[in-house]
């Protein structure tokens, strides 16, 4: 259990560091941190849907539903963002549940295709009420949460992300999480044990999309501006890339994946344009070399080193 204690302590240490962050970081990095928090929320919630056996290729669309719902309610009806953000999450969740009814009984590949198309469809809906939604150019002057100083946003998103991760963690390690994983492994076994497969899948969708909606709503009231391009096909695909590269099999996977891959372009500064090459490269490396994702890298290197040492000692042992 020593490993668990080390892990627990390092998580706490990390959280403490995160809370102290703004003391050391300049505005630009605080801005980046906020975005990382948002993408961690998105990728982790995508994983919650994934563990029930559904690979959603339209997750960014639910971020959009949350963002637009919250932004439009706040801007056009004058409601406070503190009210509209949860509503954005609920709207996204309702959307998730609604598409769950027809989609969750589809087989994996058909579900992915359906979610892909649904995701694109959502972004085109802005055309239905251009005056309200700002059409393809985007919705401007969305009421902000805290005005202009960045630091309050940092703490806000830090806390919301930590809460999200806590809830998702609890769900995954509870009976519900076990049921998600059961359903993804065997249709027959699950049904014969009394599990309502479609219902469980819809639940997973509802939970995952809720947090995507919250992330989206938060983003809207941080950036003050949203446009359909932020939520289309490629953003959804990139969320999947973050999840796969980070490690789809573990809870920390999406966190690692989102952080590293999202920050990559910013780390590369002037070579930003080349960043996607590295992201793709990481993805390829993952499929070839570390199928369980970057999060398994420490463990894998340890076992490689161990194997190398053994081989050195007894090169011809079988």
């Amino acid at each position: 259990m020593k490993r668990d204690r080390i892990r627990g302590l390092s998580v706490i240490g990390l959280i403490v560091l995160l809370f102290l962050g703004p003391l050391f970081l300049e505005n630009y990095y605080i801005h980046l941190a906020v975005l990382v928090f948002i993408y961690v929320m998105l990728t982790s919630s995508l994983r919650t849907i994934y563990i029930s056996g559904q690979m959603s290729l339209g997750h960014a669309a639910f971020m959009a539903i949350g963002a637009y719902t919250s932004a439009m309610l706040a801007k056009h009806l004058g409601w406070t963002p503190w009210c509209t953000m949860p509503l954005g999450g609920i709207a996204a969740s309702i959307g998730g549940v609604l598409i769950g009814f027809p989609f969750s009984r589809l087989r994996a590949i058909y579900f992915s295709m359906a979610s892909l198309f649904f995701g694109i469809m959502v972004t085109t809906l802005v055309g239905l009420a251009p005056e309200l939604t700002g059409h393809y150019t985007g919705l401007q002057r969305i009421p902000l949460l805290f005005g202009f100083p960045k630091v309050p946003y940092y703490y806000f998103f830090l806390i919301v992300t930590l809460l999200t991760l806590l809830i998702l963690y609890r769900i995954e390690h509870s009976r519900i999480g076990m049921t998600f994983k059961s359903v993804s492994q065997s249709h027959l076994a699950a049904s014969s044990r009394g599990i309502n497969e479609a219902g469980i899948r819809i639940l997973a969708l509802g939970v995952g999309t809720f947090f995507a909606g919250i992330a989206g709503a938060g983003y809207a009231h941080y950036a003050g501006f949203i446009a359909p391009a932020t939520f289309g096909v490629m953003p959804s695909i990139f969320l999947v890339v973050y999840l796969l590269a980070g490690g789809k099999g573990s809870f920390a996977g999406p966190i690692v994946g989102a952080t590293i891959l999202y920050l990559l372009p910013f780390i590369m500064r002037e070579f930003q344009g080349y960043a996607p090459f590295f992201q793709a490269g990481l993805l390829i490396a993952v499929i070839f070399v570390i199928p369980e994702g970057m999060v398994s890298l420490p463990r894998q290197t340890v076992s490689w080193i161990r194997r190398l040492r053994e081989h050195r000692r007894q090169p011809y042992a079988s």
Binding site: P102, F103, L106, R107, I109, Y110, M113, A114, L116, F117, F118, I120, M121, T124, L125, G127, L128, P130, G232, V233, M234, I237, V240, V241, L244, G273, Y274, P276, F277, Q279, A280, G281, L283, I284, V286, I287
Partner: protein, 286 residues
């Protein structure tokens, strides 16, 4: 009135034929290699720019450029089959991830080399046709004819030659086919090369009629996945039907209904088919 219908018909047929040209490559790769090539839209887009480069800066003119584009993109198809897809033949998940990595690389490459500007080539054939009051460019008709010729040729090859039959065999049952002595690797390479060549050529054709831009990769990818879903995942013969429906929707909707509705409508139709009849019009259950 009749002229208007003729004009619309040409538009529908032209749009559909382009969709079918590109979607067929995608469907073939999926049917024979069991891989969902997400990079197919990017290949179409890159083909367009490759053609532009042969045509305008290098100055080779229309027909040579188109032929060269088909060749170059075909060879590219061989390359990606060998190094990107063959290692993952039986692993659908990994192959799809590889395709995603590929599309990211291709699109980024395009972003960096071509940039955000649009490029366009002069029309294949100058002049316009006046069909009883409706005027449209003659080049559209030529594009349609070229597409039809190619598609007919492809259909004939698939149905009449050994190679084509081998493709169908592998699509039906890869193990049985290889037991019968079919060289699946070579056929896969051929299929991928053909698919990419056709997609690249389609890009070139479109570039002479409309404007090329890096964003057309995404748009086309969505369209052809839609076409393939309508046709039925796994069906190759049904692609013409899917292409026709999609082409009709795209060509007619903005005109008869509002522009706003046409986008979501096409997508909603695909979603509907997925929900009601996942095998599409002609597909078999996966």
């Amino acid at each position: 009135m009749a002229a208007q219908i003729a004009g619309h018909l040409i538009n529908v047929l032209m749009t559909s034929s382009i969709y079918v040209l590109v979607a067929l490559g995608f469907a073939l790769v999926f049917g024979v290699m069991r891989i969902m090539n997400f990079a197919h839209g990017a290949i179409y887009m890159i083909g367009g720019f490759v053609c532009y480069n042969f045509w305008v800066p290098v100055g080779l003119g229309a027909w040579i450029s188109l032929a060269l584009t088909m060749l170059v993109m075909g060879m590219f198809g061989l390359f990606i089959e060998r190094f990107c897809f063959r290692p993952f033949q039986r692993d659908f998940e990994k192959a799809t991830v590889m395709a995603i990595a590929l599309v990211i690389i291709l699109k980024t490459g395009a972003d960096l080399t071509v940039g955000p500007l649009g490029k366009s080539m002069p029309p294949l054939v100058a002049g316009s046709i006046n069909a009883g009051g409706v005027i449209f460019g003659a080049d559209r008709l030529v594009v349609l004819l070229i597409a039809c010729v190619l598609l007919t040729g492809l259909v004939l090859i698939i149905q009449k030659t050994n190679v084509g039959q081998a493709m169908l065999a592998i699509a039906h049952d890869p193990d049985a086919a290889s037991l019968m002595g079919v060289n699946t690797n070579r056929i896969s390479a051929l299929v991928c090369a053909t698919g990419c060549g056709l997609a690249g050529l389609a890009g070139g054709l479109v570039g002479s009629v409309l404007v090329l831009h890096v964003s057309i990769a995404d748009v086309m990818l969505v369209k052809i996945i839609g076409v393939v879903i309508l046709a039925g995942i796994g069906s190759i013969g049904g692609v013409w039907a899917g292409g026709l429906v999609m082409g009709a929707l795209d060509a007619l909707c903005p005109y008869f209904l509002s522009n706003v509705v046409s986008d979501p409508l096409g997508l909603a139709l695909v979603v509907l088919i997925l929900v009601i009849r996942p095998q599409g019009f002609f597909g078999h259950e996966m």
